[in-house]
Amino acid sequence: MSSYAWRQVGLTYIQYSNACARAVRNSLKPELKVDAMKRGNSIIKATRWEEGKPVQGKYSSAQYIEYCRFHILCEYFIPLSHHLLQNVTI
């Protein structure tokens, strides 16, 4: 069945759902479409703060998420692994 072809190439239901939603938004009447298209694009809004002020235009949302990931890695997992390694006796 063609409806399961997407699953065979490794797409998830989330990706399937996104594609369907895109088609529906694109089929709305022109006056409704403008607002609908806006909400399709932004899923996360991230603002970076420096010294108590929001810093704009420095990072895109995707870059900011990468930045957060990196910091979580540096500040949490790496010290954790150090801590674990120090307590391991070989």
Partner: protein, 171 residues
């Protein structure tokens, strides 16, 4: 004497058992006609269509096929396919809403929840926009090289087909 006391102590539990049996019989006698209805909620991220409203029946297109839900349905989870969710509010009123995709939950208490990623009234859909989108998606699918891109555009084509079908059957 001790025996009598022990027996009389059992009386409350016996009464309890009897009442349980009779309530069970009452439940078995109950049919669809007496059932009060379904507590139904349906929403998309930008709009709430139903909130704990009592309805008679709802027909939902899922990726395993369309199914109708009546009161006291067995608890179920399913994911939606693009199509028309038709809600039979009462004998004289049926609401049709187009849902792109999302999830359906039939809870143990009999309430039904539908969460759609994108949903709208049938009157909000535009045939020409859908036709145009479908042609574009078909071209993109035919031009795609990667299997995943091809599959993604095929999903869009199928969605446009469902949209066109629902709009054309309405008119």
């Amino acid at each position: 004497m001790a025996n009598l006391i022990r027996r009389s102590a059992r009386i409350p539990s016996l009464i309890g058992q009897c009442s349980r049996v009779s309530s069970l019989q009452h439940q078995q006698l109950r049919g669809y006609a007496e059932a009060v209805g379904i507590s139904f909620s349906m929403a998309s991220p930008n709009k709430v269509f139903f909130k704990d409203e009592t309805i008679k029946q709802v027909n939902v297109p899922t990726i395993n096929g369309v199914f109708g839900i009546l009161p006291q349905h067995v608890p179920t989870l399913a994911v939606l396919q693009p199509g028309v969710v038709s809600v039979v509010v009462n004998d004289s009123e049926t609401k049709n809403i187009f849902a792109s995709s999302g999830s359906l939950t039939v809870n143990p208490d009999g309430s039904v929840h539908i969460l759609a990623e994108e949903a709208c009234e049938l009157s909000d859909l535009d045939v020409n926009e859908a036709r145009e989108g479908m042609t574009k998606a078909q071209h993109a699918r035919d031009a795609a090289v990667e299997a995943t891109d091809k599959a993604e555009f095929q999903i869009e084509v199928d969605a446009y087909e469902a949209i066109l079908k629902s709009v054309e059957t309405k008119s």
